[in-house]
C-alpha cells in the first residue's frame, strides 16, 4: 500500500512505454478524462495512472481530468463540460456504463473520439475504443483456480464462499456469474455469499458474518483486493486457516502476501488499473491519428480486453509493476 | 321563565371528559342565553379550558349532551363548531407567528377563489375588523410574531369576530392586556351582546366579572357547583364555591413592614438598554418588597431580566451588597444571590420533563453533587423540606413537575431560589394565571420571605397586588421611572393615571 513505499514510483502509477515512432512527440493533444469518485484504491489508481501517463507524454499531451462523482447525472455534466472545453479525445470510465452512453454518443457525434474505459457503454456507437477488463473471465479464472486446487486436495464436497463487491454494479454480477459457471463446470457450487462495498470496513463486516454462517470453509473468493484488507482482518480475527482464499484486481498489498505465502491468500485474479495508462496512451495516438506499431492495421482497434491473469506465489514478481496501491 | 328559555342558545349537560389518568370534567352543565356574557369561574385545573375545548370541537366528550338552539349537536371537529356558530379565543395564544395579521384572522376560511388566495380582499376585511376593535392602525400584512402580546390578543379577537359567530368564547383574554386594552375589550363585548351574540368569558379577575358579566357558572374539580348565579354575587361566596373554603379578600392586606433600612442589598444605577428602558435607579433593602407598576410593554420584564444578567445592560450598573455585578452574566447574578421567577413560567422556568426535585435543584447543582456526581438523596431530602416549608402540594419531590397546578409550579420556582440561598428575589407576574386560593398562599409566602430578610422586587399588572404587597412602588412608563413612593401613599387611581397619562391627575 501507499504508506509503505510512497516514493516507489515518481509520479506514482504505472505507465505504458510508447514504442518506436509513436514515442516521438507529435501534434498537441488535449485529453479529457472523467471517472467515478475515487472511493477505493482501484479507482484512485485509475486516476493516478492516467495522470502519470499524461505526464510521461507532457510534450504533446494536456490532460483535463475532472474527477470523481458517483452521481451519473453529475458525471454527464462533467463530460459535457469537457466537450464544451473542446478536448480532442475523451477517456471516460463511467459510473454506470448504460447511464453515460448518451453523453458518450453525443461526444462522438460532435467528432470527439471517446475511449470507454472499463465499465462498458450500452452501444458501440458511443465509443471509438473500449478498453477494459474481462469481468466474467475474472470470475471464471478465480473459479477454475479454486476448483483445481480443491481437486488437488481431493475434496469432494467443498464449501466455497464468495465476498462480492458492490452488488448493484453489472461488473459484480458478471464476476459472480463467471465464478459460478466455472465452479459448476467442475461439479462444485457457490456456498455462502455476501456482498461488500469495495471498502475495508464493509469487507470486514460482511466477512465476519459469512465466517459465522460457515463454520468450515474450503475456499473463498473475494472480488476486490481493496476490501480484501478487511476480509483478511476478519479471517484473522476469527482465527480461521482451514481454507484457501483468492483475491481480485491485484493490489500490491495482496500480491506481497501471496508471495510471502504465510496466509490463507494464495492467488489473485488480475483486473489491473493499468488499463487507464493504456487508455491515455491510445488517446494520444487517436488524437494524432496514428496506429499501433505492432498491428498491421492502420487504425487503433475498436476494443481491447485486458487479460485477467491469475497471480500466484510462482509468478508474483512478474506482475509487480501492474500491482496498485489499495 | 319561558321567555328566557326560548332565548337559550346553548345547553351542555353532563359533560364528561377523561384524559388518561385524569377526569378533567366529571359532569358539567352550562346554559348560555343569547346576548349574555356568561362567566366561567374556577380554580386552576377546574376544567374551564377543557369544557370550552369540548364546545369548540377540539376535544370529544366521553359523555354528555350538547343542545344548540334546541337541537342536539355533535361537534366532531373545530370546523363543525365554527360552522355551528361558536368561535373561540383560546387561553394559550393560538396564532401562527410567521403569518401576517390578515392570514391569521382568516386561517381556515381564507378569502380564495379556486384555491388561490385573494390577499387584497382579506387585508381589507382584516382592517375593518381591527377597526371595529378600535385598532385600525395595526397593519394587516404585518407578521403576527412581531406584534406585542396585546396586539396578538387583538388579532385573536378579530379572528373570533371574523366568523360571524353566535357565541364567542374568551378564555382568559385579559391575562396579557393592560388596563386601557381591557376597557377596549369590554366595549367590544358590550357591542357584541347588544347584537345578540353570547359571550362565554373566563377570567381569574373577579372584578372584571362583576363589570361585564351577566351570569356566572362556577366549576370545581370538573363539576358544576353553581350555575346561573347573578354576576353581583359577593366575592366571598364565589371564592367559597370555587375553593371550598372561605377566603376573606382576594388581595393582600398591608402588613407591618419588615424593612431593614440599614442593609442596602440591591442597588441599580442608571441602568438602561436601547429601545427598552433608560436611566433606572433604585435600591432595595433587606426585608423590603419593591413593587414596579406599569402597563404591559412598559419594560418591566426587561429591567428584571437585565438586573439578572439575562439581557446585557447597555448602560449603568447593578450592585449587590455594594459589590458591582458583571453585566450580562446570569451565572454571576446567581452566584451573587439573585433569583428570578420569570414572567413565562412554562417557557422560561420549568423543565416539564423533570421531577419537582430536579427543577428545584437546577440552579444549585454544584451543592447537590460531589465530584460531578449528583447526590440524589440530599436532593430529595432538601427539596422535600423546602416543599413542606412552602406548603406546596403534593409535596412529593419525585413527582413530575408537569403534574402540579400553576400556583404550585410557581412555588416550585420560588423554591429553586430558596434552596440556592438567594437573598434577592425578582418576581415577574408571580400570580399570572394563578387562581384565587393559590394567590392568597403566594402572597403569604412573599410576605414571609421579606420577613426572613430577603429583598424582593415584584412586577405585576394587577395594581392592588402591587399596592397591597409592596413597601415602596416605582411607577414605570415607556421605559422610564416617573414616580417613586411608599405604597401606602398611593391609590390605585393615582397609579393608573400616572401609567396612562404620565402624571397623577
Amino acid at each position: 500500500t501507499s504508506n509503505e513505499q510512497p516514493q516507489a514510483q515518481t509520479p506514482a502509477g504505472n505507465v505504458a512505454a510508447g514504442q518506436g515512432d509513436n514515442a516521438k512527440p507529435g501534434k498537441m493533444v488535449t485529453i479529457g478524462f472523467s471517472a467515478p469518485a475515487a472511493d477505493h484504491g482501484w479507482i484512485a489508481a485509475i486516476t493516478k495512472n492516467a495522470k502519470a501517463q499524461a505526464d510521461k507524454f507532457k510534450a504533446d499531451v494536456t490532460l483535463k481530468a475532472t474527477e470523481g462523482t458517483n452521481d451519473p447525472s453529475q458525471q454527464i455534466a462533467q463530460v459535457e463540460t469537457l466537450i464544451n472545453q473542446k478536448v480532442d479525445v475523451l477517456v471516460i470510465l463511467p459510473m454506470d456504463g448504460k447511464q453515460l452512453t448518451s453523453v458518450g454518443q453525443s461526444a462522438m457525434d460532435k467528432g470527439i473520439p471517446v475511449i470507454n474505459l472499463d465499465r462498458i457503454f450500452d452501444t458501440a456507437l458511443a465509443y471509438r475504443l473500449w478498453i477494459g477488463g474481462d469481468n466474467y473471465r475474472m470470475g471464471v479464472n478465480a473459479g477454475n483456480y479454486i476448483a483445481a486446487e480443491l481437486k488437488k486436495k481431493n475434496i469432494s464436497k467443498p464449501v466455497i464462499g464468495e465476498v462480492a463487491g458492490i452488488d448493484s454494479l453489472p461488473l459484480t454480477q458478471d464476476r459472480s456469474r463467471g465464478f459460478k459457471d466455472a465452479l459448476v463446470k467442475a461439479g462444485f457450487s457457490v456456498g455462502p455469499r455476501v456482498a461488500a462495498e469495495f471498502t475495508v470496513e464493509t469487507g470486514e463486516r460482511q466477512t465476519a458474518n459469512l465466517l459465522q454462517a460457515a463454520p468450515k470453509l474450503d475456499a473463498l473468493w473475494n472480488h476486490d483486493d481493496d476490501q480484501g484488507i478487511g476480509v483478511m482482518a476478519a479471517i484473522s480475527a476469527a482465527n480461521r486457516k482451514e481454507f484457501i482464499m483468492v483475491g481480485g484486481a491485484g493490489s500490491k498489498n495482496m500480491i506481497d502476501k501471496i508471495k510471502a505465502d504465510n496466509d490463507v491468500i494464495k492467488a489473485t485474479v488480475l483486473y489491473s488499473p493499468s488499463m487507464s495508462s493504456s487508455a491515455i496512451a491510445l488517446a494520444r495516438l487517436l488524437g494524432q491519428a496514428k496506429g499501433m506499431g505492432d498491428l498491421a492495421e492502420h487504425e487503433i482497434p475498436a476494443s481491447i480486453t485486458t487479460y485477467s491473469a491469475v497471480v500466484t506465489k510462482e509468478n508474483a514478481d512478474q506482475y509487480a509493476d501492474v500491482a496498485f496501491d489499495s | 321563565m319561558t321567555a328566557e328559555e326560548s332565548s337559550v342558545l346553548l345547553q351542555m349537560t353532563g359533560i364528561v371528559k377523561t384524559f388518561p389518568g385524569v377526569r378533567a370534567l366529571g359532569g358539567v352543565d352550562l346554559t348560555v342565553r343569547a346576548g349574555e356574557v356568561h362567566c366561567l369561574l374556577g380554580q386552576n385545573g377546574a376544567g374551564k379550558s377543557t369544557l370550552i375545548k369540548v364546545l369548540a370541537g377540539a376535544h370529544q366528550p366521553d359523555e354528555g349532551e350538547i343542545v344548540w338552539q334546541g337541537e342536539t349537536a355533535t361537534l366532531s371537529s373545530p370546523v363543525a363548531a365554527l360552522r355551528m356558530g361558536v368561535a373561540t379565543m383560546y387561553q394559550e395564544l393560538d396564532l401562527i407567528p410567521g403569518l401576517s395579521v390578515a392570514d391569521n384572522i382568516f386561517l381556515g376560511h381564507e378569502h380564495a377563489k379556486f384555491g388561490f388566495t385573494r390577499d387584497r380582499a382579506a387585508r381589507k376585511q382584516a382592517t375593518a375588523l381591527l377597526k371595529r376593535l378600535g385598532h385600525p392602525e395595526i397593519p394587516p400584512e404585518k407578521e403576527v410574531g412581531e406584534l406585542s402580546a396585546a396586539g396578538q390578543q387583538l388579532v385573536s379577537m378579530a379572528r373570533a369576530l371574523a366568523h360571524d359567530a353566535k357565541l364567542i368564547v374568551m378564555d382568559e383574554p385579559t391575562a396579557a392586556l393592560a388596563a386601557d386594552e381591557v376597557t377596549n375589550l369590554f366595549r367590544v363585548v358590550a357591542d357584541l351582546t347588544a347584537d345578540g351574540v353570547a359571550v362565554v368569558y373566563i377570567s381569574h379577575r373577579l372584578e372584571e366579572i362583576r363589570e361585564i358579566g351577566h351570569r356566572v357558572t362556577v366549576l370545581k374539580d370538573g363539576k358544576t357547583v353553581a350555575s346561573g348565579l347573578a354576576a353581583d354575587t359577593p366575592t366571598s361566596d364565589l371564592v367559597a364555591l370555587m375553593s371550598g373554603k372561605r377566603v376573606e379578600t382576594v388581595y393582600p392586606h398591608r402588613e407591618e413592614s419588615t424593612v431593614d433600612s440599614s442593609r442596602e442589598v440591591l442597588k441599580v444605577e442608571r441602568l438602561g438598554r436601547d429601545n427598552e428602558f433608560a436611566d433606572v435607579n433604585f435600591t432595595v433593602h433587606a426585608g423590603e418588597i419593591l413593587g414596579i407598576a406599569g402597563l404591559v410593554g412598559a419594560g418591566r420584564s426587561e429591567i428584571l431580566e437585565t438586573i439578572f444578567g439575562a439581557r446585557k445592560a447597555d448602560r449603568g450598573q447593578v450592585f449587590v451588597n455594594g459589590k458591582q455585578l458583571k453585566a450580562g452574566d446570569v451565572k454571576a447574578a446567581v452566584n451573587a444571590g439573585i433569583g428570578l421567577a420569570p414572567e413565562e413560567r412554562k417557557s422560561q422556568a420549568l423543565l416539564m420533563d423533570m421531577t419537582v426535585a430536579q427543577n428545584v435543584t437546577l440552579a444549585s447543582m454544584g451543592a447537590y453533587s460531589s465530584f460531578g456526581f449528583t447526590d440524589r438523596a440530599k436532593e430529595l431530602r432538601d427539596s422535600r423540606a423546602k416543599l413542606e416549608d412552602l406548603d406546596l402540594r403534593p409535596s412529593d419531590p419525585r413527582r413530575g413537575i408537569s403534574t402540579l397546578s400553576g400556583g404550585n409550579q410557581q412555588k416550585a420556582v420560588v423554591a429553586r431560589w430558596l434552596v440556592h440561598g438567594c437573598k434577592i428575589l425578582l418576581l415577574d407576574e408571580p400570580t399570572r394565571g394563578v387562581d384565587v386560593g393559590a394567590r392568597a398562599e403566594l402572597y403569604r409566602l412573599i410576605r414571609e420571605l421579606a420577613a426572613d430578610g430577603v429583598a424582593l422586587v415584584l412586577v405585576s399588572s394587577e395594581m392592588p397586588e402591587v399596592l397591597g404587597l409592596a413597601d415602596r412602588v416605582l411607577v414605570l412608563r415607556e421605559g422610564r421611572v416617573i414616580h417613586e413612593a411608599p405604597a401606602d401613599e398611593l391609590t390605585e387611581a393615582d397609579v393608573l393615571d400616572m401609567v396612562m397619562e404620565g402624571s397623577a391627575a
Binding site: - | Y90, I96, E146, A310
Partner: protein, 340 residues
Amino acid sequence: MTQLEPAENTAERDTEPPGTPASRDKRGFPVDLRLASLFGVLVLMIIIGWVTSPDNFLTGSNFDTILRLAAPSGVVAVGMTFVIISGGIDLSVGSVVGLASVWMTTLATQSYGPWVMVICGLLVGLAAGLVNGVLIAYGRMVPFIATLAMYISARGLAEYLSNKQTQVVRDQDFLTFFRGSFLGIPTLIWILAVVVVVGWVVLNRTTFGRRTFAVGGNPEATRLAGINVKRHIALVYGVAGALAGITAIMLAARTTAGSSTNGLFYELDAIAAVVIGGTVLTGGRGTMVGTLIGVMIFTLITNIFAQNNLPTEVQNIAKGVIIVIAVLLQFRTNRARSTT
C-alpha cells in the same frame, strides 16, 4: 433539528425589536436582505467561475450544462421546501427517485409506452410520499425516522425490482421529448422552470401554501382554526414524493436509464439548498426563490471545480465551508438589518 437554541432565542429578542418594517414580508418575494445576501454569494460564484476559466464559463453551452444538472435536484428541492416549511423533513426523496426511476423503466412498464412510463414515475413517487405522510400524520412517527425507514426500504425495493441492473430506456418518443428542447431551451430546464414557478405560486398564492406555513408555524393553532392538519401533512409529503417522481423522469431522460442508484444523496443536497436558501428547519418560514438560489450555488460549485480540473476532495472541503459561511453570513445580514 429542534435545538431550541436558548442563546439564539434571547439573541433574537435582543436584536430584533418588534416591528422593524424591513422584515415585513419574509415569505413572499426576493425583496429581502437575506435573499439579497444570498444572491450576492451566487453572483460572487459566477465571478469566480468567470475569472478562473474565462473562455469556457460564461458560454451558453456551459449554462445549458449547469441548468440541466441543476434541474433534477431543483425539482427535489422544491418539494423539500414544502416539507421543511411544514415543519418536517424528508430523508427519503433520493431513494424514492431511485425507486421511481426503476419502476418506470422496467421492461413491462416501457412496453406500455411513454405516457405510462411518465405516469408510473409520478405515481410511484406520489405513493411513496403518501406512505411517509400517513406514517407521520396518522401513525404519529417523527418525520426523521419515518422517512429514514423509507430511505432504506425504497432503495432496497428499487434494487429488488431492477435486480440491481441498470435498465436502459428504449422508448424513442420518451427520449425525443424529454431530451429535446423547445424554443431553444432544453425540456429539462423548462420542467425546472415550471416546477419552481408553480411551486412559488402554490406556496405564496394559494390556501394550500398558506396552510403549509400555518402547519409549520403552529400546528395546534392550525388544527384549532379548523384545518385538517393531518391530511395536510400527508399531502405535503405526497407532493414531495410526486416531485421526486418527476425527478426520476428527468433523470431517466438525462441518463437514458433507470437505476436503483439514481438520486443517491439528493436528500442531503436538497436539504442543504433549502436551508441555505433561508428556510428554517423548525418550520413556518421559508422562500422558494431562496431554494432556487441554494440549488444554483451548489451546482455552480461542482461546475467551477470541473472547469478547473480540481479534485473532489477539495471540492467537498470547500462545499462544507461554503455552507457554513453562507449560513453565518445570512445570520449577520439579518442582524445588521434589524439593528438599523
